[in-house]
């Protein structure tokens, strides 16, 4: 009984195989700083069960994660920590900005709160809501998987092409140039003026 080639071979692309593996076993790094973190925990636990989508292995070490979920407002003092955690994660890695505060600062438009983490980090998927329902976070994970399957490459060349600043521009009326001061020293640190052009 001779086997036909159709029975013994599966022809595919290495990119597809890599994407298939990566997308279906995302290991999230919960960077939870506020109430969105509670929804994140609910998403991971039994009622909403993120395990159905292969992303339930929350690790508290960035070295073991490939998906950073920033859940909650990020204050200015936290930005160097967040950037450091992001840099410690091994490639390939992705970032979800969960909730209004992480995405835009939300209601906290004050001197201490960063107006969106995408000003300092490359973000792949944004989740609206205050805080988002677990279903929304699950949808964002599904979107993330879809994005990985569509754009991912074996060697990560889609990351290498993202060389520019992806965040929004500074608000024009935020502070007048003559009122702006730049704190000295570095927070890992601060080397550029507040104006982003």
């Amino acid at each position: 009984m001779a086997m036909t080639p159709n029975d013994s071979f599966l022809v595919s692309k290495l990119d597809w195989v890599a994407n298939y593996c990566r997308a279906n076993s995302l290991w999230p790094m919960p960077f939870a700083t506020a109430c969105c973190g509670i929804e994140l925990m609910a998403t991971a636990s039994s009622r909403f069960d993120l395990a159905r989508f292969g992303a339930e292995v929350m690790r508290f070490s960035p070295r073991q994660c490939d998906l950073m979920i920033v859940a909650g407002r990020v204050v200015m003092k936290m930005v160097p920590v967040m950037q450091r955690i992001w840099l410690q994660m091994p490639e390939p890695k992705w970032c979800i900005s969960m909730g209004a505060c992480a995405s835009s600062g939300g209601v906290f438009d004050t001197y201490a709160v960063v107006q969106g983490i995408d000003r300092f980090l490359p973000v792949d998927v944004y989740v609206p809501g205050c805080p988002p329902r677990p279903e929304q976070l699950i949808q964002s994970i599904i979107d993330m998987q879809d994005k990985i399957k569509r754009t991912g490459t074996l060697l990560g060349s889609e990351f290498a092409s993202r060389t520019t600043d992806e965040g929004p521009r500074a608000l024009a009326l935020e502070v007048l140039p003559q009122d702006a001061i730049v704190a000295p020293g570095d927070y890992r640190t601060a080397t550029k003026t507040w104006e982003r052009n």
């Binding site: 300092f120 990351f159 502070v175 001061i181 704190a183």
Partner: protein
């Protein structure tokens, strides 16, 4: 709670002109001069039994109607034996608002004075470790002063962006 005994002791010791009192809903408030504040706090602790510093904070009275002074430093004291409470307030002005520290009296004043220094820039002379407690060390402003804009002066965006290619 009656405050007559405490008030009597205070006026006997420092004279009626040294302190200015007000009462609001059985809450005794005493306003004192800044050069007398440490002595009065020490007297309240050692002779009137106010053994607990419940809170230490400050107020910026800039643009406040009919305010004569810029800053008010507020000490909320509690006598844990009788439950009596008293609020001691000291007014300060620019430039260089400063007060003697009360860490030798209540050890718990340490972080509260650091917080007041961090937010209002009021120096506490003699404090063992007067550093910023909430804001980053590199921060140069005092954010709870009323002349500081709510959105800051650009410090919150003073970080480098990490592009995807370099991370």
């Amino acid at each position: 709670m009656s405050h007559e005994a405490t008030l009597g002791k205070l006026t006997d010791r420092f004279g009626p002109e040294a302190i200015c009192t007000a009462e609001f809903r059985d809450n005794l408030r005493v306003t004192v001069e800044d050069d007398l504040s440490f002595l009065i706090l020490q007297f309240l602790k050692e002779s009137c039994g106010f053994d607990m510093l419940a809170d230490l904070t400050a107020v910026d009275y800039l643009h406040y109607p009919e305010a004569k002074d810029r800053y008010g430093v507020v000490y909320c004291l509690t006598n844990t034996a009788t439950g009596e409470r008293i609020v001691v307030k000291t007014m300060l002005n620019d430039p260089d608002p400063a007060l003697p520290t009360c860490v030798p009296l209540w050890r718990g004043a340490d972080w509260m004075e650091r917080e007041v220094y961090d937010m209002y820039g009021i120096e506490f002379t003699g404090h063992p470790d007067l550093r910023r407690i909430l804001m980053p060390d590199e921060y140069t402003s005092f954010p709870l002063r009323k002349d500081y804009p709510l959105r800051g002066r650009g410090e919150r965006h003073n970080f480098p962006f990490i592009t995807r290619a370099e991370s």
